[in-house]
């Protein structure tokens, strides 16, 4: 199919978008009456939080990007499926409970708890903004392609329109309970992807092996084994490291551990999230190879050089135009929800951490904070639109891989060390976060993706994903700086906090019956 407007698909698309937004408004009204905005968060159940976590995590990258990568390069795309999942056990085992036990609002609060606030907040803001920016680019590229496929608009116009819609959504409705947005979206996405995979499998007698065999028959046995994308072994390891450790450094994921009652619920919710996400990534095996066999690589590439439209094209092939409209709407709702969450956390960082705490030293009234937060949202949207256009033709799963590399280098080392190592000092954490962010951004800029694909020049740094260099570098900076300039007072405070970290906040007697 060429990129042209189609009334049936568009009608279904608009109906489903309107429906999902309506449900969101209804759900957020319902939760608002139940309790105050923040405390209502503490009543989120493990299953709900698990779905919300899964919703946050299964962004356009997972659905559009991985399906596209698998369709274009077979097995190589699956490395992303698997890598995105294995971060979750790390979060469960290392991060979830201590984070919840500290009883704060963001991961920056945990790092800053026994260190000096201002320098930590500045450093962490820079890292978080870089992560949010790359994550946003990926969503913009995905959304731009979807709108282009559906409405037949030029890519640049599509990105601009999508950016403006998202801006309006965040400005006017962004503060509505994002937990519900994510829960509804997760259910829609899991349902839509399962249905799509089921329709694909029906064509192969419900035997996945027959599907894989057909793929191998059409494009050679190479599609079932590692190939071109990971031709460089070090690049493969680097990507693996970034995907695995990045999950534990994503600001909007870490925030979700504060919406539940206690460490036990936090733990269970990660269990649910892992189950949902794992199931979803198993589906991407089917979707990717299905698109490869049923649509063919050439047709997918003709629509978008990044392969991002494999899943929507597949839905049209197996379910017709209405199904395309449905799947496109699910993907778009996914992007909208993720972007809203990202834009909000980015705006919060800019207005709360940087403007109020650092520039105004904590002195700013409600009105001023609100104005700054809105300005920050507009600024972020403008940056996202510009970069979304610049990164046209990149695969969105790959782009999110870069966001993971930044998260793994900038946030993960400081967070883990602040929880497990008493010797970490303010300067150590600060240097680690800044060096992690700057080195990752620099190496991405020097990588083949920017230099060869976008600027058409020579790459100065050979790896497409810099994680293998920047993650150890960031850890080393934190340890070396902390050792060279130890701060005994900060170490003493760690001893006080260690009990709280592993046991949890002492609850007032009778406040909550033991479960």
């Amino acid at each position: 199919m060429s990129a042209s407007a189609d009334p049936i698909a568009i009608a279904f698309f608009l109906i489903f978008i309107a429906l999902s937004l309506g449900i969101t408004v209804w759900a957020s009204r319902r939760t608002r009456t139940a309790d105050h905005f923040y405390t209502a968060g503490k009543s989120v159940t493990a299953l709900q939080n698990g779905l919300a976590l899964a919703g946050d995590y299964m962004s356009a990258a997972s659905f559009l990007g991985i399906a596209g990568l698998v369709a274009l390069s077979g097995f190589d795309g699956l490395i992303y499926s698997i890598g995105f999942l294995v971060g979750w056990p790390i979060v469960t085992f290392l991060i979830a409970e201590p984070l919840r036990n500290m009883g704060r609002f963001t991961f920056v609060d945990v790092v800053a708890l026994r260190l000096r606030q201002t320098p930590i907040r500045i450093a962490a803001s820079i890292g978080s903004l870089a992560v949010v920016a790359f994550y946003l680019i990926a969503q913009m590229v995905g959304a731009g392609n979807l709108v282009r496929l559906l409405f037949g608009l030029p890519y640049e116009a599509a990105v601009l329109i999508v950016g403006l819609i998202m801006l309006a959504y965040v400005l006017f409705g962004g503060m509505m309970a994002t937990t519900w947005v994510q829960i509804i979206k997760a259910v829609l996405l899991l349902g839509g992807a399962s249905l799509l995979a089921g329709l694909v499998l029906a064509r192969f007698g419900f035997n996945p092996l027959a599907l894989f065999e057909a793929a191998a028959a059409r494009y050679g046995g190479g599609v079932l084994s590692p190939g071109r994308q990971v031709s460089d072994p070090i690049d493969a390891v680097s990507l693996g490291l970034a995907l695995m450790l990045g999950t534990a450094g994503l600001p909007h994921i870490l925030m979700r551990f504060y919406t539940v009652a206690d460490a036990r619920t936090a733990r269970s919710s990660v269990g649910y999230a892992t189950a949902f996400i794992g199931f979803f990534y198993l589906l991407t095996f089917i979707l990717g190879f299905g698109a490869m066999v049923i649509i063919g690589r050439e047709a997918i590439l003709a629509i978008d050089a990044g392969g991002n439209m494999a899943a929507p094209l597949l839905s049209e092939a197996v379910g017709g135009r209405p199904f395309l409209g449905f799947i496109a709407a699910v993907a778009f709702a996914t992007i909208l929800a993720v972007v809203a969450g990202l834009a909000l956390s980015g705006a919060a960082t800019l207005s709360h951490d940087l403007w109020v705490n650092v520039i105004r030293k904590g002195v700013a009234d409600e009105r001023e904070q609100f104005v700054v937060a809105r300005g920050a949202t507009v600024l972020l949207a403008a940056v996202a639109i510009a970069l979304g256009i610049a990164f046209k033709g990149q695969n969105v799963a790959y782009m999110v891989g870069l966001a993971f590399a930044i998260a793994a280098s900038a946030n993960f080392p400081a967070l883990v060390l602040s929880i497990f190592w008493g010797g970490l000092t303010t300067a150590g954490a600060q240097v680690s976060m800044i060096v992690g962010t700057v080195s990752t951004l620099l190496l991405i800029y020097l990588s083949p993706t920017i230099q060869v694909d976008i600027l058409k020049s020579e790459a100065l740094f050979p790896l497409r994903n810099p994680g293998i260099v920047t993650i150890p570098l960031s850890f080393a900076c934190a340890v070396v700086v902390s050792w060279l300039w130890p701060v005994p007072a900060e170490r003493e405070r760690f001893a006080e906090l260690e009990r709280q970290l592993h046991v949890g906040v002492e609850e007032p007697a009778g406040a909550r019956p033991a479960r």
Binding site: P89, L209, G221, L224, S225, A236, G271, G278, E506
Partner: protein, 65 residues
């Protein structure tokens, strides 16, 4: 988990022909291992959550008293 995943990634990085071995028509060793890694992440998380909810929390509660 890290060991399982890194074993897998190192195989991807350094021994591509091995992973390309076809066990059955349509099923290569790499694909099978990929599915196993996902299932392993599932099972390990589940076992940990069960263990922590049943044993770890009890010990923590005793510590508090």
């Amino acid at each position: 988990m890290m060991v399982i995943y890194f074993g897998f990634i190192l195989l991807v990085a350094f021994d591509k022909p091995l992973l390309g071995t076809q066990l059955l028509p349509g099923l290569s060793l790499g694909m099978l291992l990929g599915v196993i890694v996902i299932l392993a992440a599932w099972i390990l998380t589940w076992v940990y959550v069960r263990w922590a909810n049943q044993h770890y929390d009890v010990s923590v509660r005793e510590l508090k008293q």
